[in-house]
């Protein structure tokens, strides 16, 4: 079971409340799709600068592996507070710990609610099982 302290998107991001802000990352499934369990296959991650406004559903960055490039999509609207400074030089964090150390951006959300298209961990897993 994936962590149930957060919500999930159909493009495999997770979003978790952290005080007044939210943390956003990608799921183990997304990481495995890109690198098939081999952390050395991840080559690049582009994350936004602090202060940037992003709309829900908008692409805020990219992650690239030997095989493919994937967009990173914002689950909610808000302002970027910071990007995880460790990721650019240590992409292996994403395969080792996508849930905690592997957070990508901290956002000050426009509204406090995290609803809309977002799924619970159980819903995300049921959807994965059915569609992949």
């Amino acid at each position: 079971m994936r962590p149930d302290d957060r919500k999930y998107t159909r493009s495999h991001e997770w979003i978790k409340a952290d005080g007044d802000t939210v943390l956003i990352g990608i799921t183990d499934f997304a990481v495995n799709e890109l690198c098939s369990g081999n952390e050395g296959d991840l080559v690049y991650c582009d994350l936004p600068e602090a202060g940037r406004l992003v709309e829900a559903g908008e692409t805020f960055g990219e992650i690239e592996s030997v095989k493919a490039v994937a967009d990173l999509n914002a689950p909610v609207s808000g302002t970027v507070v910071e990007a995880n400074p460790a990721i650019e030089d240590h992409l292996e964090i994403l395969s080792r710990d996508p849930w905690n150390e592997g957070w990508m951006i901290r956002l000050a959300p426009k509204t406090k609610s995290l609803d809309g298209e977002l799924m619970s961990a159980a819903q995300y897993e049921a959807w994965l099982a059915e569609s992949h």
Binding site: S36, N38, G40, D41, V43, Y44, D46, E62, E64, V66, K67, V69
Partner: protein, 370 residues
């Protein structure tokens, strides 16, 4: 439409391969990390299931003249027992496919891309019906033959343990013979491949393919042999400067500008070959050239990315990859004449961001050049 599967499908799944749709077939893309698989082939030996490739036999008295009408290489001049690269092109010079032609005493054997097999077979039938070649037999062997490749410096050492009645050392590059493999008579054995390494390709009846595969895995283990997927195969062929249909060649991408003139005979004897006039015109006045681009930047170039010299767009990427052998990110790309000289500094446009790269001649890797 359901995917086709080779007779080795179960062996791939059992070995933990990740399977993908490739040209309508369910094929292994990798068994292990792609970059490790690349290194295995460059340093030791790798095993490939190529049962998806199209295999077509031509028989009958006019088979050479018939194929000479359709293929850009000079089929009638291929020595018996030798293999040559060529293309099937339309009148306008657009490639329909690229092919290998094996010339035997009593038949021609043509190996084509999986995704184009149906089109190629139809193309052959259509032209046989029109011309004076109705005595030529076109036999699609794709569904009855397995195809297994061994690639890498230890290939001969591995295959020798399982062959009888054939001297593998006597089969030179781009030559073939028939011999006994794992007790199966009449296996076609060619010294060919799509990796830039020494190696062999075997053609044998489908029901025997799993047994031969298992025997190669077992007898190759001491030499470091492992099965290799299509992911590594794509990097290996790009490092070796070999084209892939749909990337370097295809509609609007002619073989002359792709640097494949060695497979396009433009002497007057071949003037009745389909596409001769158009290909001659490209040869007389090329506007662009396929080159290698190497980059030290973090991003991997991909098909379709544009190539720029300062503010000017001067080309586009056909294939790109991380190259463990070269130690850089590499691409094949068409660039306008004038920007094709080795050492020219250019930029990729990677989805709105620029990354510098340098032109170099293909191939990136040659085992003989070192």
């Amino acid at each position: 439409m359901a995917l086709k599967a080779t007779t080795l499908h179960a062996a791939h799944v059992a070995a933990g391969a990740r399977m993908i749709d490739f040209g309508g077939w369910s094929m292994p893309v990798q068994y292990r990390p792609i970059l490790e698989e690349v290194a295995t082939v460059r340093q030791r030996v790798g095993l490939f299931d190529l049962g998806h490739m199209g295999r077509i036999e031509l028989r009958g008295p006019d088979r050479e003249a018939f194929l000479d009408r359709l293929a850009t290489n000079h089929v009638a001049k291929i020595p018996i027992g030798a293999i040559r690269y060529g293309l099937l092109c339309r009148e306008n010079g657009d490639p329909i496919d690229d092919i290998l032609v094996y010339r035997a005493q009593d038949h021609l054997f043509v190996v084509v891309n999986a995704s184009n097999t149906a089109v190629d077979v139809e193309w052959l039938h259509q032209h046989r019906a029109q011309g004076p070649f109705q005595g030529v037999e076109i036999i699609d062997r794709t569904d009855e033959l397995g195809m297994i490749a061994l690639q890498g410096p230890r290939s001969q050492a591995v295959l020798e343990k399982l062959t009888e009645g054939v001297d593998l050392g006597a089969i030179k590059y781009y030559r073939f013979s028939f011999g006994r493999v794992c007790g199966i008579d009449g296996v076609r054995i060619s010294r060919t491949g799509y990796t830039g390494e020494d190696g062999f390709e075997l053609y044998l009846p489908n029901p025997q393919a799993p047994r031969v595969w298992d025997a190669l895995v077992e007898s190759g283990a001491p030499e470091g042999l492992t099965p290799i997927g299509l992911g590594a195969r794509d990097t290996l062929r790009l490092e070796a400067g070999m084209p892939l249909y749909g990337h370097e060649i295809g509609p609007g991408l002619n073989p002359i500008e792709a640097g494949l003139s060695f497979g396009v005979n433009l002497t007057p004897e071949k003037k009745n070959t389909l596409g001769y006039a158009a290909l001659s015109a490209f040869a007389a006045k090329p506007t662009r050239r396929l080159v290698g681009l190497a980059s030290d930047g973090p991003r991997v170039p991909r098909q379709g990315y544009t190539v720029h010299a300062a503010d000017r767009e001067i080309g586009f990427v056909c294939s790109g990859s991380v190259s463990p052998t070269v130690g850089k990110h590499i691409a094949s790309a068409y660039v306008a004449i004038g920007f094709d000289r080795p050492g020219t500094e250019l930029e990729f446009d990677l989805r709105g961001k620029r990354q510098s790269c340098v032109v170099q001649e293909l191939p990136f890797y040659s085992r003989t050049r070192g």
